[in-house]
Each structure stands twice: as structure tokens, then as C-alpha cells.
């Protein structure tokens, strides 16, 4: 709509928020069911991540575009209608364009409907902001979620199977490939459900550790310079 509203909040911050500070998976811990279930390989994570990104961006756009008609008492049914029809379309297109990936992801494509990250963005952000800002929000939040899916998928594939990039042909076409085989066989636990929880826990712990280290570094700097009173 108007371009001023988006430039008023600098894009780098928004990108940072989606990818790091407010990452839907890492920080808000939303949408864990698909996140834990499909990340057995990089290509699965990438596929579901991209599908979620598209749904999130479109739903943010539609919710924001209709926000003046949305009355608070019917907003949840409206979100559900918008998200469910978008996901149905994505599922149909997935089976039309990427049938192998569709088979590989299976039930988790329709289950994008239940990804609370999408309803959360509709409620928290898109219903209160302009279309452009909502699209940017959908893109960045979706990218954060997709990147986390990819990272977990790559990590679990690497540990569990000893490969990386296997079956990328499901997304990009070409001959079926086993990807880069680094080790023959792997540590089985990583692909099983407990491995999903452990990998996510490691990712959250790593993020918190990095944040803490950065905070400490920031705290130390002004303390040495002097002007800021350190209270806690």
C-alpha cells in the first residue's frame, strides 16, 4: 500500500527478527509437529520449509488485505478459511509439480494448516499492518522457519545417514541422486523421533549460548567506557 510504513521500520531488523530474534521455531517454538517430523533429510526440510514460506506469505498478504473487513468475532474462522484453502492449493500444486517430494512429505503438507506459526502471524502481525509489511513479515518469518528446517534436516541427515544433499532431484529435477556420501551409514538415533527432539534442543541451546555471549560482550564494552550504569 504505502511504502512509507515499511521504510519506517528498517528491513534489516525485520530480517533479523524473522531469522534470529523471533524465529518461529527456535524462539517461539511454534509449528514443532512438522518441524520434528519431516527433518530427516535436507531435501525434506527444504521442501516443507518452502511450502510453509509460501503459505505464510500468502496468508499474511490476504489477511492484511482483508483486515478492514475482518471483525474480531469472526477473525479465527476467516484465518482458518484463508489458510486452509491456501494449503489445499499448495498441496495440489506440489503433487502436480514435485510428485516425488509430495510423496516424501506426505501428510505433512496438509498439516501445514495446523502450523500455529501461520495463525500466529495472521493474528499478531498481518491483521494490524499494511499489506507490504505483512508480506515482508511472512517472507522473513517463513525464511526463518525454512532455514531452521533445513539446518535440522541437514544435521540429522548428516549424523543419521552420513550423507548430505541426497535426493535433491525431488525438488530440482534430474536423475535420482544419493547426494554427497561422507560416511557409509550413520548414527541411527538422529533419524528416529528422539533424535529430532535432541537436534532441536541443540539448536535452541546453541542459539541461546550465542545470544548470551553477545550480550556479555555488549555489557562489558559500555562498562569499560563508563557512561552506562550497570544495575544488574
Amino acid at each position: 500500500m504505502n511504502s512509507r510504513s515499511i521504510s519506517s521500520s528498517p528491513p534489516p531488523n525485520r530480517l533479523r527478527a524473522g531469522l534470529w530474534d523471533e524465529n518461529p521455531g527456535l524462539v517461539q517454538l511454534l509449528g514443532l509437529c512438522p518441524l520434528l517430523a519431516v527433518t530427516t533429510s535436507l531435501v525434506n526440510g527444504l521442501g516443507l520449509g518452502l511450502a510453509t514460506l509460501v503459505v505464510l506469505t500468502c496468508s499474511n498478504m490476504l489477511v492484511s488485505a482483508t483486515r478492514h473487513f475482518i471483525r474480531s468475532e469472526i477473525r479465527i474462522p476467516m484465518y482458518v478459511l484463508i489458510i486452509a484453502s491456501l494449503v489445499t492449493c499448495i498441496e495440489l500444486l506440489m503433487y502436480a509439480w514435485f510428485p516425488d517430494l509430495g510423496r516424501s512429505l506426505g501428510i505433512f503438507i496438509p498439516l501445514i494448516v495446523t502450523n500455529c506459526a501461520i495463525v500466529a502471524r495472521a493474528e499478531v502481525f498481518a491483521s494490524k499492518n499494511t499489506v507490504r509489511a505483512s508480506i515482508v513479515d511472512g517472507l522473513t518469518m517463513g525464511a526463518g522457519f525454512a532455514l531452521l528446517l533445513c539446518a535440522l534436516g541437514a544435521f540429522r541427515e548428516l549424523i543419521g545417514y552420513g550423507t548430505i544433499f541426497s535426493r535433491l532431484d525431488m525438488l530440482f529435477g534430474g536423475e535420482p541422486s544419493g547426494g554427497l556420501v561422507l560416511v557409509d551409514g550413520g548414527f541411527l538415533l538422529a533419524i528416529l523421533p528422539p533424535g529430532a527432539f535432541m537436534s532441536l534442543a541443540l539448536a535452541v541451546a546453541a542459539k541461546n549460548a550465542l545470544d548470551r555471549r553477545r550480550q556479555l560482550a555488549q555489557k562489558n564494552k559500555p562498562a569499560r567506557a563508563g557512561p552506562k550504569p550497570a544495575r544488574s
Binding site: 509439480w97 510428485p99 533419524i191
Partner: protein, 217 residues
């Protein structure tokens, strides 16, 4: 007072929801209309692609879906799910039957198998269509992960012989899988039962008329 204030808003809400529902339905319907032929073609290609390994190089004439025989339970084949048979003709004569059956006693639920049997009772090849076996152990039955399944190529009830249709640990002729013996036992049993079924039913398989709504899934 409150009633009269609420009423129009109720109607408006309903109308908005109705319009949105109509728009969403139109969107989904259009996408479906666009995607359906593509999805159908993909399914057909996938079917042919997954049947090809067990065709053993036989050139088939009919469309595969037309030669499909859908067998509801009880059918006498292994598995407690419906079975399917694709009948392959070459030069007008029965050449092979492709069975889709389930091995019941897998480690984690039934294993869906595709077994190709030539008219003379030898196996062309066997593939696993669907399974829930343990990754890293039982999933070595996938032909993409190991060549364990390929040892059944060109076997039959007379070679290696009926009594030898077991894993080596049980005194049979077939290799087991490291760390998994339940899965191979289940598969070998299912293949043997399928061969026995074919032995006693081969003429009736090819004389039965094809099921009209051949919609494999």
C-alpha cells in the same frame, strides 16, 4: 438496544464469511482443475516407473491400469489388505503377473511388496513399495539402500526348492540382514506364499475379467 446493535453486525459477519468461503472455494476449484491432469499423469508415470523393475524386460501391450485385477480380502494372497494383480500380456499371451501384496509379520507393521512372476513361475524381481521398518536396519530391504532384495531375481519354487525358502540362519538359501531377521523372514514368507498362489491359480488369474474401475492407489 443491544439486540438491534448486534443484529446487523451478525449479518455482516455472516455475509463476509460467506463471500470469503465462495472466493476460497473458487480458488481451490480452479487450482484443482489445473492440477488434476498433471497429478493424474504423474501417478500413471509413477505406476509405470515403479512396475518397470519387476517387468523383467517384458514388453507389455495394454495400458497397465486396464490389466489390473483388484482382489478384496479374503483373497488367499499374503496380507490382510486388498491385493492387486497387474496382468502382463506379450503377443496376446499371458507373460507375467505382477502382485502387490503385504507381508504381515514385519517388525513394524505390514510391508507392501511388488512381486513380478513370469508365466513359468520364476520371479522377475521384487520391490518394496511401502514399509515402516527401522531406518538403518530393516530398511535395507529397499532396493535403493542395499541389493538384498535382488537375490530373489530368477528364483522360483523349484530353484532353490520349496524347503529352502528361508533365511540361512533358519536353514534356507537366502541371506539375512545384519541386525534384522524378522523383516527378511516376513518378506521371504510373503514371496513364497505368492508363488504358491500363482502356482495353483495362474489360469484363473488370466481368465478373470479386468476390474472396471481400475484406480490403483
Amino acid at each position: 438496544m443491544t439486540e438491534s446493535a448486534q443484529k446487523p453486525s451478525l449479518w455482516r459477519g455472516g455475509a463476509i464469511l460467506g463471500i470469503l468461503a465462495a472466493v476460497s472455494t473458487a480458488l481451490v476449484a480452479n487450482t484443482y482443475h489445473y492440477a488434476r491432469p498433471l497429478i493424474k499423469a504423474n501417478e500413471q508415470a509413477y505406476l509405470e516407473q515403479s512396475l518397470r523393475p519387476v517387468l523383467g524386460g517384458i514388453k507389455y501391450e495394454d495400458e497397465l491400469t486396464k490389466s489390473l485385477l483388484d482382489l478384496p480380502v479374503p483373497h488367499g494372497l499374503p496380507g490382510s489388505e486388498p491385493a492387486q494383480i497387474y496382468r502382463i500380456y506379450a503377443d496376446g499371451n499371458p507373460a507375467a503377473a505382477l502382485f502387490i501384496v503385504s507381508a504381515r509379520d514385519g517388525f513394524a507393521g505390514p510391508i507392501r511388496l511388488l512381486i513380478g512372476v513370469r508365466i513359468d513361475g520364476t520371479i522377475t524381481s521384487v520391490r518394496v513399495l511401502k514399509h515402516k521398518e527401522t531406518p538403518g536396519l530393516g530398511d535395507m530391504i529397499e532396493s535403493a539402500r542395499s541389493d538384498w532384495l535382488l537375490q530373489f531375481d530368477a528364483t522360483s519354487l523349484s530353484s532353490p526348492g520349496r524347503e529352502s525358502w528361508r533365511i540361512k540362519r533358519d536353514g534356507g538359501e537366502f541371506d539375512q540382514l545384519t541386525g534384522a531377521s524378522i523383516t527378511p523372514r516376513a518378506i521371504i514368507k510373503a514371496i513364497k506364499e505368492t508363488l504358491l498362489y500363482f502356482e495353483s491359480n495362474s489360469s484363473s488369474i488370466f481368465s478373470t475379467r479386468a476390474s472396471d474401475q481400475g484406480d490403483p492407489s
